[in-house]
Symmetry: C2
Subunit: 509 residues, 2 copies
């Protein structure tokens, strides 16, 4: 059987641009994993890892023009957005280099012998070591930031783990280019190119998660694909951690008082967030609880005007476009669902944004309207009109887990003594990030970031964005009774590397 | 169908002592989980949780005489060991109270807006919140420390998570007694008794891990039982973290130089560790790599003498005794396996300790001798004699994951410039705790402890002993753009609770 070709496709025309590669066979996946496994020792030195990450950022920036051009040809995301995404990706690589230098992620804990404890404590010293080869599954919608050079790869390399990336079929040419750039950066520091493997093909992705030398996986994509890989990871003879970001509705609650205070601004802000990037963000607000009545009507009027002004756009691929159009049609046909602005086909290759409305009571109990509680990837949102907040809360209580949950409150509600804390507490169980008077699109790269949430938002309690993303690829190891001469410098009393640590109970920074 | 009775059994006679309870039906499991779920709010205040944990320790100590008597009657572990185990359990409850008070486990991170970042950082504040109801599966071999009041329960309550415990059938009467004591302690602080549920029965355990309101599970037990529950946890519509400690061989490498230096002491130490508690520890050394030749012979002589001096003992139940005797017999029949001291049946209810020897080369490649690389629960160890260290290392490379790995080195090897670091690096991939010149039995309760390891030692990268065990029951949540008035005190700029935190990049302690 001939190897299946991997084509780069232009989503603006649906035409094949070029054949980039062929799908990897099981033998090729095995070779990539073994090469990555063999590269582990080259990442052992933290200073080398940090330098590698910084070189990777430099080289990606140097190749910016070519990379953005190819990315745009494959994804139609446009040069402005892609240039910004590449800058974000380089920033992220450098941020992880800083995290490697600081070393707090090693979680160093030292206990000297203590005979007063029950039972007595011997000399115990703990830190974290890299797990081994990490499989990374690229996302369609972020060809840089959640793909070959993205957060999963950056955090895994920072942790000391080589990576094998399963390329997303929406941007195979870019994936190959980026891999070459990253390997060039690795070579500058004597790191073999096997440190970053790249494979194409659905079956190759399944092989990858099952490979005995793969120790963990990071994934960004659909519930269906992610769950299948999660299940495969759990079913292995030796199960591995699978950190998948699968899907999120990102509910927004607009209080009556907030709508009364600034209906127009909220409507316009919502339109901007839900149509950004042709609605192709994991954190697109997909369900909005807005009050019935006059203030809510004004909000909808503003939303209608703003969404109507947004032109049509190209989705990442034609399968997504078909799914979007089918998803919109299926939802719009439900009883009592209206389409103030109808999302639909633009030309042959584009889609136009829109939104639906539904009485919130239709979502308060199980029924056919539950379809509205499923993510519809693309520029569509659902506005559920509630008659009182208990109705809104009963809808929220029925939602699966989310990456984000948002509340818009009035000035009085947000003030000391207002009901803001109660609303925040209501939303906290729903999501990994809770926003007040903002919009969920835009995920900052920061230590305090958490991009994750209850299933299916993520399959674990971890984050894929921000400094703590590194924790996914490490495991603790404790040394007992080891003389100083045997210990790695990270665990020696005199702290030659100046690491933050817990030393006999005290936090030292 | 009548409910199946749950009997307390005396392992010294095999006779039923009393009927303690009946196995829980699915409805009863549901009721226990719902009661626990309803108790969540009562654990929201950290000060209340800490006080509850301390009261639990006080009340358990106050009930010591009764508890130890019942525990001994059900487990035959003896009053000295059980009194020590109860003291350890109370120490652990108090240690988690201290951890709750300190609050470092909340992992507070605050980022103020930063327009120089790419993309700009909004106001983001992150900490950790409890997951919800935790299912705890008790161990047979630690009726206190890894059962109803043990580390899983203590760390879950410390995290703010109510618990439903699946009692171990080896100590159902003690489990009921301890639950009453813990609920009494809860009542002192206005916490409803549902905060600690208790169910009996194999089927009840399966129901528990599948319950939609159960958010995580902790398990200590066999590979077979633990894997079945892990699989059930992963197969749920909403998968949950399953932190299971399943099995471990705990390899020990004795270098030629160490044997030459102190063969007798090592042999005697090994005998003590492998027979401690009738060999019923998860961290019992089950495979020892000792050099062939004279020094190794002296070590074996010392081991033989010391093991022969250890009397027979009662195992936790008769099924374990049957399995142990069958396991010993099956292993002893393998070619080139010898039994310098034959483990076997003592009287009708006891077993005597022993050990086997085998040439290490028999374990260096796949074959029938692989049975010797599986844990045999009880007072048996296997000494593999190696002719050179490469042979020893090829055996080590074939082992599944372990809780511990131990190396005995000579004074010269342990000194600065010796080969100690190389040996430590060899052992690190094998286990979660690496010991030098010690024995793995005895697991200290300390911040630097790590009781976990590569699968099947544990099903996750977490620990079930020591301060970081609390991390298993938490998830991060980030608040974006929330005015101070809406934020919990943990996340406010002025740090009214005095928590250690990361504040705009700086570590504050």
């Amino acid at each position: 059987m001939a190897a299946a070709p991997v084509w780069s496709v232009d989503p603006r025309t649906g035409k094949q641009r070029e054949q980039v590669a062929v799908e990897a066979t099981a033998q090729e996946v095995d070779a990539a994993v073994r090469a990555a496994h063999a590269a582990r020792a080259s990442l052992a030195d933290r200073a080398v890892r940090a330098a590698f990450l910084r070189s990777a950022a430099d080289q990606l920036q140097a190749a910016k023009d070519q990379l953005v051009e190819v990315a745009d040809a494959e994804t139609a995301l446009g040069p402005v957005r892609l240039t910004g995404e590449l800058a974000r990706t380089c920033y992220q690589l450098r941020a992880f280099a800083d995290i490697v230098d600081e070393g707090a992620f090693l979680d160093v804990v030292i206990n000297h012998p203590d005979d007063t404890a029950t039972p007595p404590i011997p000399d115990l010293r703990r830190y974290k070591v890299p797990l081994g080869v990490v499989a990374v599954y690229s996302a369609s919608n972020f060809p840089f930031a959640f793909s070959v050079p993205g957060g999963d790869t950056a955090s895994a390399l920072a942790a000391g783990c080589p990576v094998v990336v399963k390329a997303h079929p929406d941007h195979p040419a870019l994936s190959e280019l980026v891999a070459i750039v990253l390997r060039r950066a690795a070579a500058e520091h004597g790191i073999p190119e096997g440190v970053l493997g790249l494979v194409h093909g659905f079956e190759a992705g399944v092989e990858l998660v099952k490979h005995p030398l793969v120790t963990a996986a990071g994934f960004t994509g659909s519930v269906r694909g992610g769950r299948a890989l999660f299940d495969a990871a759990a079913a292995r003879p030796v199960p591995i951690p699978f950190h998948g970001e699968l899907g999120s509705l990102n509910p927004v609650l607009i209080t009556e008082a907030a709508a009364a205070e600034r209906a127009e601004a909220i409507g316009a802000g919502l339109a901007g967030s839900m149509t950004l990037g042709v609605g192709q963000f994991c954190v697109k607000p997909g369900l909005v609880l807005a009050p019935a009545g006059d203030a809510g009507d004004r909000l909808l009027k503003s939303l209608t005007d703003a969404v109507s002004d947004v032109g049509s756009g190209v989705l990442l691929d034609h399968r997504m476009r078909d799914n979007f159009l089918a998803g919109v049609a299926e939802r719009a046909e439900l009883p009592e669902v209206e389409s103030p602005v109808t999302a639909g086909a633009g030309g042959d290759h584009t889609v136009s944004p829109g939104f639906l409305t539904v009485p919130a009571e239709k979502l308060a109990a199980e029924g056919e309207h539950d379809l509205l509680l499923e993510e519809c990837f693309g520029p569509l949102t659902v506005v559920a009109r509630y008659t009182d907040e208990d109705e809104a809360k009963s809808v929220l209580s029925r939602l699966p887990g989310n990456l984000t949950a948002t509340v818009h409150v009035s000035g009085e509600e947000a003030a000391e003594g207002g009901r803001g804390p109660e609303l925040l507490a209501e939303l906290t169980p729903l999501a990994g990030r809770v926003l007040v008077n903002g919009w969920p699109t835009g995920v900052a790269v920061a230590a305090a970031q958490h991009h994750g949430g209850p299933y299916p938002a993520t399959t674990s309690t971890s984050t894929s964005v921000g400094g703590t993303a590194i924790e996914r690829w490490l495991r603790p190891v404790a040394y007992q009774g080891a003389p100083e001469a045997l210990l790695p410098p990270e665990l020696r009393d005199d702290n030659p590397l100046g690491l933050p640590r817990r030393f006999d109970g005290r936090l030292e920074r």
